[in-house]
């Protein structure tokens, strides 16, 4: 297990190197200096701010030196200052991170809790009405523009029925509320975004549970479990699902970039002041230090998400966790 972990950590190094190269390359994509573009697109970027940006990126020096310098600062989590309000980028991120984490973890927990029964049910009765419904749902989930679904929900539940607030995270009187009322207020505001994320994400995930469950149910050890006279429920959940979960852990790790992408879209549509919205605002304002910081952090987060999934997988799968084989007979 420990050697496995070390091996996986070492395996991350080339990917991390590529991430920094790509991030660094993006800023150099622009014709001319990126600081020129900043000036052209963002009138708020004063001459002084531009000069500071130039200095930050050391644009007058040779590219390899620039890269190493930038890398060194990134490793120290020094992403410079936003030139919208001159605050350190890392501070702005820290401020926004909890909201995004809250929304995504609630959505993730809901998706996990729902995808298993939905997928298992479809797997046990292939071609049943339920199975067909989930197939349709999957195609819809893959094809529907999530921001449009969000707009429809806003128009219907917010504007038409007045059930739910359509934007922001706090009501106008939030500051005057008691602690419980504040929490309820936030919950009220995140129902719609979470609902949309779950609806779209669940489609693919439950289909994935279905297919890995169908695959597992054809294994020899399921036949053994049935031959032992176990109840169908025990066969499915004790013997089948445990194995199917292994591949679900992996797919969860891989779906992290989609979650982040979803955050950008949902937070923008619903005007929620999280990381996604921060990124969108930074893009609109061409606030490069924030953009670069978020791109790099997002990729690194994804990478560590995958690593976490691998570790969870290794922990769940005794074939990796218990790496010793006793071969005597």
């Amino acid at each position: 297990m420990v050697t496995y972990l070390i091996r996986r950590l070492i395996g991350l190094i080339p990917a991390l190197a590529w991430i920094t190269v790509i991030s660094f390359a993006i800023i150099h994509l622009a014709p001319g200096k990126p600081t020129d573009a900043a000036g052209a697109f963002n009138p708020k970027a004063s001459l002084e701010a531009r000069q500071r940006l130039e200095k930050l990126y050391g644009l007058d020096r040779p590219i390899p030196v620039q890269y190493l310098d930038w890398l060194g600062r990134t490793l120290r989590l020094d992403f410079g200052r936003s030139f919208l309000d001159d605050r350190p980028v890392i501070e702005k991120i820290q401020e926004r991170l909890p909201i995004t984490l809250l929304i995504n973890s609630v959505a993730l927990i809901l998706m996990l809790g729902l995808c298993i029964p939905l997928g298992v049910f479809a797997a046990v009765r292939p071609d049943s009405l339920w199975d067909r419904c989930t197939t349709v749902w999957v195609f819809l989930g893959y094809s529907i523009p999530s921001f449009w679904l969000a707009l429809l929900c806003m128009a219907y539940f917010g504007v038409h029925l007045h059930w739910l607030p359509i934007s922001g995270l706090y009501s106008l009187d939030h500051d005057w509320m008691g602690p419980i009322a504040r929490m309820m207020d936030i919950a009220h505001h995140i129902i719609l975004p979470i609902g949309v994320i779950v609806f779209v994400g669940l489609a693919g995930l439950s289909r994935y549970v279905r297919s890995s469950m169908v695959e597992v149910l054809q294994k020899d050890y399921i036949r053994t479990a049935r031959a032992k006279g176990l109840s169908e429920r025990r066969v499915l959940f004790h013997h089948g699902l445990r194995n199917a979960l292994l591949s679900i852990i992996t797919i969860l790790g891989l779906s992290l970039p989609d979650l982040i992408t979803g955050s950008v879209i949902m937070e923008t549509v619903f005007s929620i002041p999280g990381m996604g919205r921060l990124f969108y605002d930074a893009v609109m304002a061409r606030d490069y230090s924030v953009i670069m910081a978020l791109v790099t952090i997002g990729a690194i987060l994804t990478l560590f998400g995958n690593l976490l999934a691998d570790i969870a997988y290794a922990y769940t799968d005794p074939r990796i966790r218990v790496g010793t084989a006793l071969t005597e007979c």
């Binding site: 020899d220 036949r223 031959a227 032992k228 006279g229 109840s231 445990r242 007979c329």
Partner: protein, 266 residues
């Protein structure tokens, strides 16, 4: 009275528009304590037959029909799902071909063994360990008390098959259906496993339905043999009789092929 009596059992697979008859009106019986072998090439319907007896074939794709499948006093064709579950793994146990894929990789040996005991004996959860250990000892697994918490992948193929046999025996079944129990194993291990099966047969009066394609094994172990060819029983009788005076051309071909391999090369 026979332990198991199967009359006109047919198994039919439905895949898409095609229907394939895997087992075609097979009838046979097994007496208590007897070893009956089924031989035949792969695809002759041996495994389908073995699974059909306790109706373990997937209901969505396989159709079973028979006049009756009488085991002890129950007609398995008409038995409820609950009484079938009591018989499966309780009175009729299975040992399958490939132990490495037949054991659940994410559950410990102990969990899988205890599960059988808990399902088929009146035994509390806390009391399941001693019989589990006892059976591991009986199938010849050394240091058995260390093995309950081990996972299947930590065992060699032969040890895995011993665990499968322990699981099958733990409920003291009357009939063990062994579907090619040794063909995934090394030759030296094969002998040990077969000896173990023989030992249990003699010690516990266990009847064994041995499915096999190795004529040597059949000759050493079984009392009676059925030859299955394209889903039909083409020949049946006492082992010595069938092997000395094969009546059906397919049986003769089987025996000739074996003789060619074991005799001097021409």
């Amino acid at each position: 009275m026979s332990l198991l009596r199967v009359d006109d059992l047919s198994v039919c697979y439905q895949t898409g528009d095609q229907k394939v008859l895997a087992v075609d009106q097979v009838s046979f019986s097994i007496e208590p304590g007897e070893i009956v072998a089924i031989i035949g090439e792969s695809g002759s319907g041996k495994s389908s037959l073995a699974l059909a007896i306790t109706r373990l074939l997937p209901r969505s794709s396989a159709q079973i029909c028979a006049r009756r499948i009488l085991f002890e006093d129950t007609d398995l064709l008409e038995a409820s799902e609950a009484s079938l579950r009591n018989i499966r793994g309780g009175r009729i146990s299975y040992v399958f071909q490939d132990p490495s894929s037949s054991l659940n990789p994410v559950l410990t040996i102990g969990e899988q063994l205890r599960e059988t005991i808990l399902t088929h004996t009146r035994c509390r959860k806390s009391e399941a360990d001693p019989p589990s250990l006892e059976w591991l000892r009986k199938v010849g697994i050394p240091q058995e008390h260390l093995r309950l918490s081990a996972y299947p992948h930590e065992f060699s193929g032969g040890m895995q098959q011993r665990v499968m046999i322990a699981m099958a025996m733990a409920s003291r079944p009357a009939l063990l259906i062994a579907d090619e129990p040794t063909s995934a194993l090394d030759v030296t291990v094969q002998v040990q496993i077969l000896r173990l099966l023989r030992e249990f047969q003699q010690r516990f009066g266990l009847a064994i339905l041995l499915i096999c394609h190795d004529l040597l094994i059949v000759r050493r172990l079984a009392q009676r043999v059925m030859v299955l060819y394209q889903g039909r029983v083409v020949e049946t009788g006492a082992v010595n009789h069938v092997f000395e005076q094969p009546a059906h051309p397919y049986t003769r071909r089987l025996l000739e092929a074996r003789a060619y391999l074991s005799g001097p090369l021409k």
